[in-house]
Symmetry: C2
Subunit: 473 residues, 2 copies
Amino acid sequence: MAEAARFELAALSGSEKGAFLRTLSQALEEALEELVTLMTAETALPETRVRAETARSCGQLRMFADLVEGGDWVDARIDRARPDRQPLPKPDLRSMLRPIGPVAVFCAGNFPLAFSVAGGDSAAAWAAGCPVVVKAHSSHPGTALLVGRKVVESLKECGWPEGSFSLLFGRGKLIGQSLVSHPAIKAVAFTGSRQAGRSIMELAAKRPEPIPVFAEMSSVNPIFVLSGINSTKIEAFAEGLSTSATLGVGQFCTNPGIVFHPGGQWGEEFISHYSGKMAKVAPAPMLNRGICESYEKGLDFLANLQGVEVVRRVFAGTDQDCCKAGVCVLKAKAKDFLDNSSMMEEVFGPATLLVSYESFDQLISIAARMEGQLTSSIFGEEDDLEKCDSLLRILEGKAGRLIFNQFPTGVEVCDSVVHGGPFPATSDSRSTSVGTGAILRFARPVCYQGFPEKTLPHELKDANPLSLRRKEN
Amino acid sequence: MAEAARFELAALSGSEKGAFLRTLSQALEEALEELVTLMTAETALPETRVRAETARSCGQLRMFADLVEGGDWVDARIDRARPDRQPLPKPDLRSMLRPIGPVAVFCAGNFPLAFSVAGGDSAAAWAAGCPVVVKAHSSHPGTALLVGRKVVESLKECGWPEGSFSLLFGRGKLIGQSLVSHPAIKAVAFTGSRQAGRSIMELAAKRPEPIPVFAEMSSVNPIFVLSGINSTKIEAFAEGLSTSATLGVGQFCTNPGIVFHPGGQWGEEFISHYSGKMAKVAPAPMLNRGICESYEKGLDFLANLQGVEVVRRVFAGTDQDCCKAGVCVLKAKAKDFLDNSSMMEEVFGPATLLVSYESFDQLISIAARMEGQLTSSIFGEEDDLEKCDSLLRILEGKAGRLIFNQFPTGVEVCDSVVHGGPFPATSDSRSTSVGTGAILRFARPVCYQGFPEKTLPHELKDANPLSLRRKEN
């Protein structure tokens, strides 16, 4: 069905695509109270989060509606013929971005709305003109079904073909693997664990026709505290960090997992403040038992590494059904961190590893050793930032988003955001899964040579009927 | 050395990169007579071709110089802070494209200059700010060495670090495999066979840190002759086709390998004309013995397929040292073509398979069955083009460049060209290896959040000192 719908969707205008995205956005807004009831029950996420995530999802749909109604995103380029050019005439060439074809979207466990059935990946694919086949997440099938029904209703209302959207349910790997392997699927969007993401990447690469995979996987989002940070700011920093590290029970891909901070007196004071702030955070339920078990196992692993010391670890109790996770603060020295790359591995949950360093050279060595990240934050005075150009240059090669004096959680959905980064943060550092840039994952340039005006797409006609910003030669 | 040079190159301004590209372009122009002597001896390509390819290579370097001196390619985006936004303040976010890191470039056997040491891939990578490590092709090591020396001289003249460029020689797979597997390499550009390209893709996907591969591999560049083509144009069409199919002894990736044409009277006449035109083309030396042997083997394979008939095959003689290839014209019926997907495989050389069809439905079935292509051409009257929208929609999903009433060889180097397409034409249909768009393969977006004005890259400063076209909110 997706394959059959492909050509119909590819022929839709920007305003037709915008109309559907707006219809769906409104349908979700109208379903808000139902979503609150269902999603809080399925995920144990608080009501405020459900309301905020619904608003974000609706906002994303409208953002892509704005983008495709405007139309400039197609990157229209025109090189007009020059029949008298020597030694050979120049032909007429015009290009623009066109939909890549049916996209498989895997719902994210930690974003039941914003990165699931009608989340960012689906919105970007529809905006590009691609049919979407969604694999629901077993942690929130009810939410998926409710949103899926809203998608189907909105499609009908807008007269889109049935194959524009399908929703698949089922535990285990069979459905996901069949989806990634299906010849009609031309791209994959995934948010989840490094292991699952990597296996999808491998499956896609082995197909008779390999296809691109946009997997957002694993990131410890390191924070680098420059030695020049004012000691009067320690408490505010510890407060902000604990809020960021425990937001959503630490279940954000931008959760700050490791902090590199000056050792000595400053370090002692910071660890003490941070441990105190974290002590105030009560254990809270995680999204499902698997995530909770992985969290505890990850902490056990980390705590047993040579050079790692547990500052504070809160156990949530033995009742397995509650899936509650307590916070954890661990510490280590930069020297030991550099000796053991296992300390860099992500522990998904409300845990922070505090690593004290003795010199800027150590900080540089650590940055150079880090794997790819979604974000890297630097805290310090403005003057210090200017002096640490060598650190910045390294971090720029490692992360999609560099942050100064702010915490990484809270991803702004806009034109400029980059939610991406080198592996293992994502499978393709040249893309973003948040913001308008996300549409580029599902589009490819197509060139039309020697086509008569009346047969050209509107975007490339001489008269520029859509008033696009184009590159014309 | 490439890893060490990475940060220095990433810090270069557009005008500094432009200066190097122009210096190199001039150095190659000055080496023209040396290139003519060396390259004709190594490749058996005619002098006119060497002169034209040198001009193209120099033009490509200048095109990228223009691009980076202008600077708009970085896609600068700015979302300014809104501290008073409710419920949460909006942070300041700014993004632009930054170099991906060291790029491995494999010289193309069939383009000793334009897609080799200082060819399109290298030029695009340098323009993006990436160090380049080139693997020379064993068919033209002398040309590679000469061009490599010009690169080194130009780098020295412009004060670029040594690691900006390395050139590796050696037959076999060891060097190439080591290069693709090296942790410092962050992207690969390759032009060559489907088999070699696929093995590079698999190697890159298996790395601890998988990296993107931009491989340009295999394309039969189908030509679809609409039934409405005017019969008075048969001879001109046959003439144009034979010129395109034998250009460079058929050793172009855009060589038209298969023509789908109306059967019946029109078809008979066309085949007769085409065979006659091809009869006038004398056997000529191919680039190396391997290519020549593959060509003859490919023809044997094709000629023996059920439903394929040899119309004319010219054998070049038994002298293996000459590596000469004669033309070949084969024919088949659409029905048999649809029954046997082996007929779609590329035979690299001056051969054409003519497939006669009986109905438009057959043409649609064929188009739907085709693998990914660099180009697909349609020949016919303008009125017929308007009526074949269903064919166009399918071809658009299969090829990077759609052409009307022109032959596919002769790739214009400009902003609008797309030299790409779905697998097996390339490994990533979202990219082009020719034209200014090629730079996007070697760049990734990086976002700066909360950075003070003075620490931002010039491209993102409020004052817009480079006068870039930016997206500002």
